[in-house]
């Protein structure tokens, strides 16, 4: 049994949606961060699927770029988060709202 390509795309869309929703509803900074990773990987899945459907290697190559960029983002992001929450008990995003209005 072969799974139609469109199903992968739907799966990717669902994963992307889960990631986006998670970012909106979760308060733990690290979980929010993971949600972004989930979104990026949903995109990767989309790339690979399209590459397969189009029979084009470009989409697969793109995934590598995304992976590298995601890694770089993790490094910088974690550094910022650590610097931010070093002196706090819980890593909750809602604590951070001095700047507003």
């Amino acid at each position: 049994m072969t799974v139609p390509g469109a199903w992968y795309l739907v799966l990717a869309a669902v994963l992307f949606g889960i990631g986006a929703t998670g970012l909106l509803v979760r308060r733990n900074v690290l979980v929010m961060f993971m949600c972004i990773e989930l979104m990026l990987n949903a995109v990767n899945l989309t790339f690979v699927t399209f590459a397969r459907l189009l029979d084009d290697i470009g989409g697969q190559a793109s995934v590598f770029f995304v992976l590298v960029v995601a890694a770089a983002e993790v490094v910088v992001g974690l550094a910022i988060i650590v610097a931010m929450f070093r002196r706090r008990a819980a890593a909750t995003a809602d604590e951070i709202h001095i700047l507003k209005g």
Binding site: A20, L23, L24, V25, R27, M32, A93, D94, I96, H97, I98, L99, K100, G101
Partner: protein, 643 residues
């Protein structure tokens, strides 16, 4: 010809030097720098003028490009200079008189705490004025127009710590806005019709007959331009700012509010002669407003006690004459009077300044008198200016006023009659001024006697009695007095001697300004009648005021209060109008505009405050905003699928 650039560059350089180094150069170096730049500019103007004289009369229009401002599609706006007889006439007397007045200011402003700032404004003003007259397009001219306006407010409010000065500056600002509004509408109309602001594309075809203009368009355009001129040149109904503008230092009154800036309106109308030509009704409006202003201001001048306010109303009145000449179709006469007026009115103001200076800032003529023997130079030169303004032959004013009256007679005897009556009033109030200031008994307090000579040493005036001003002030007076006496020779109404008229002829070809012949006999008659009226006024003034300074019967309150027009307008504006703009007690003059502006402002501020609620500071709310935005775009594009 490249000297043309120097005309503008030198005052601009002076402005820059004084802006950045004004505090360091100080007193009196700032003044000398400004004077040097002004004189340099004048010399450059003379050089350009001389080289233009080398051209044949027909080719005396030279264009100098400066830069392209907006080179886009349909709108191509470039700034350049147009050197032609008209612009050079203005440039010559503006920079010439400007140089003398800047020189005079070195002495007059001595010791002022903002010495550098004053000369900064003087040079900036000169630069702006030269831009105004030398520009090659209405738009560029408007830049100069705004520039002189800015300097004017800055200098009226120069002593801004005086409340009256600040209020006067504000009044000038608001009144001029109304005029500028007209100018701007004219610019829009012009662009809509010609797709250009340049004189060469707008005016030249009209002047040469390649293009005609529909009457309605011409009337609208001409009247809007004239509205701008009315604001700048203080004509009815926008004249009220000029008397108040006397709050500024006296050299400013002489330069900006008598000799140069206020004649910008006259320039604008003269420049727009090709447009005016297509609208006889607009010409009538110009002539009538001019005549009415001349008469009204002259009557008010008869009842004023402040030495500078008399001259201010006199300026309004004389500007009315200039518009009368232009509206009557004789632009040459209007311009001739403008130039002559620049000489004698600058002279009178500077003379008044010397008197004020000598009397320690006393401006009330009732507290002057008997200064003849103390201020010989000022007295003699003031006398020359007085006779010139009163149009007593053979002084300047006689010749130029005569030319205007002849044109007015040609237009309509009614206009002429108004002009002649005004001439008599002019002679009357000027002779009144002269005898009140210089003649009769001294009514000022002899400070020497009051304090003792020693006690007054600190005041800087040894001896305490009024004494003549220093040479930097008297030299300009003498030069201007000579100009007021023999300046008319540049346009004597005799065959071959009408240099100015022939010089200006290429700008006003017969097509747009048909020449008219007034029979020689009529001319003589007009001259004689005008002189008779002037002498009548002179004698009346002298005999009435020679012995006493108190003649209440001759100074009805209605004249002293300028026909109560100012008060009425203020009352109307501050009463009903202010209530109309309820909640806005900001100012009487801009009540309505402010209400509108404030309304929009309040609305914006209020919505801003409400919208701030969405800026919660929580990251997930922000992300939600992005998400909603994305969803909205997706939803919109979903409706376009398959399209």
């Amino acid at each position: 010809m490249d000297a043309a650039y120097a005309i503008l560059a030198l005052p601009l350089l002076g402005t820059a030097i004084l802006l950045f180094g004004g505090r360091r150069t100080g007193d009196p170096a700032s003044g000398w720098i400004a004077t040097a730049m002004a004189v340099g500019s004048f010399v450059a103007t003379v050089v350009v003028w001389a080289s233009l004289l080398g051209h044949s009369a027909a080719s005396r229009t030279v264009h100098k490009g400066l830069f392209t401002w907006i080179p886009v599609g349909s709108l191509h706006v470039s700034f350049g200079l147009q050197l032609d007889p008209l612009s050079l006439t203005w440039a010559l007397f503006s920079s010439g008189v400007g140089s003398l007045i800047t020189l005079y200011s070195i002495g007059y402003m001595k010791g002022d705490s903002s010495y550098g700032r004053f000369f900064f404004y003087m040079n900036l003003f000169l630069f702006s004025m030269l831009v105004l007259v030398l520009a090659d397009s209405y738009l560029f001219s408007f830049v100069g127009w705004e520039g002189v306006g800015y300097c004017s407010y800055g200098l009226i409010g120069f002593w801004f710590e005086r409340n009256s000065a600040a209020v006067a500056a504000k009044k000038a600002f608001v009144t001029n806005r109304i005029g500028d509004f007209g100018f701007m509408i004219a610019l829009f109309m012009m662009f809509g019709h010609f797709h250009s602001f340049n004189y060469s594309t707008v005016l030249a075809p009209l002047a040469s007959g390649r293009l005609t203009l529909a009457g309605a368009t011409a009337t609208g355009l001409a009247l809007m331009l004239f509205l701008g001129a009315v604001g700048k040149s203080a004509q009815i109904p926008l004249y009220m700012w000029l008397p108040d503008a006397m709050e500024g230092p006296t050299p400013v009154s002489a330069l900006i509010h008598a000799a140069t800036m206020v004649t910008a309106g006259v320039y604008l109308v003269a420049r727009s002669a090709p447009i005016l030509h297509f609208s006889p009704s607009a010409q009538w409006v110009v002539a009538s407003i001019g005549a009415a202003t001349a008469l009204l201001a002259a009557t008010i001048a008869c009842g004023q006690d402040d030495i500078k306010r008399v001259l201010a109303y006199s300026t309004i009145s004389q500007l009315g004459y200039m518009f009368l000449g232009e509206g009557s179709g004789d632009y040459g006469a209007g311009i001739f009077h403008t130039v002559m007026h620049a000489f004698f009115k600058a002279l009178l103001f500077l003379g008044a300044g010397a008197v004020i200076h000598a009397l320690h800032d006393e401006q009330d003529m009732k507290k002057m008198g008997g200064l003849w023997k103390y201020l010989p130079v000022s007295s003699w030169t003031f006398l020359a200016g007085f006779l010139a303004l009163s149009a007593i032959p053979p002084f300047d004013g006689f010749w130029s006023k005569d030319a205007i009256l002849a044109a007015a007679w040609h237009k309509s005897p009614a206009l002429w009659a108004v002009g002649v009556v005004t001439a008599a009033l002019t002679a009357y109030y000027m002779s009144r001024q002269f005898v009140l200031v210089f003649g009769g008994k001294a009514r000022w307090v002899d400070r020497a006697a009051e304090h003792g000579a020693a006690g007054h040493e600190a005041g800087g005036h040894a001896g305490g009695r009024p004494h003549e001003a220093p040479p930097v002030m008297t030299v300009p007076l003498v030069i201007l007095a000579v100009g007021s006496t023999v300046g008319w020779l540049m346009n004597a109404p005799f065959a071959g001697l009408n240099f100015l008229e022939r010089w200006l002829a290429p700008v006003f070809p017969a097509r747009i300004a048909p020449s008219f012949a007034v029979a020689t006999g009529t001319k003589w008659a007009i001259g004689t009648v005008a002189t008779a009226f002037a002498i009548l006024g002179l004698v009346a003034g002298l005999s009435a005021w020679r012995r006493t300074a108190e003649r209440p019967a001759l100074e009805p309150a209605v004249l002293a209060h300028a026909w109560y027009i100012d008060e009425t307008v203020s009352a109307a504006a501050s009463g009903p109008l202010a209530r109309l703009a309820s909640g806005v007690s900001f100012g009487v003059d801009a009540g309505l505009v402010d209400g509108l502006v404030n309304g929009v402002g309040r609305l914006a501020a209020q919505s801003g405050r409400q919208l701030r609620r969405f800026q919660t500071g929580y990251v997930r709310n922000y992300a939600l905003g992005i998400g909603i935005g994305a969803a909205a775009i997706l939803a919109y594009l979903a409706t376009r699928m398959g399209g």
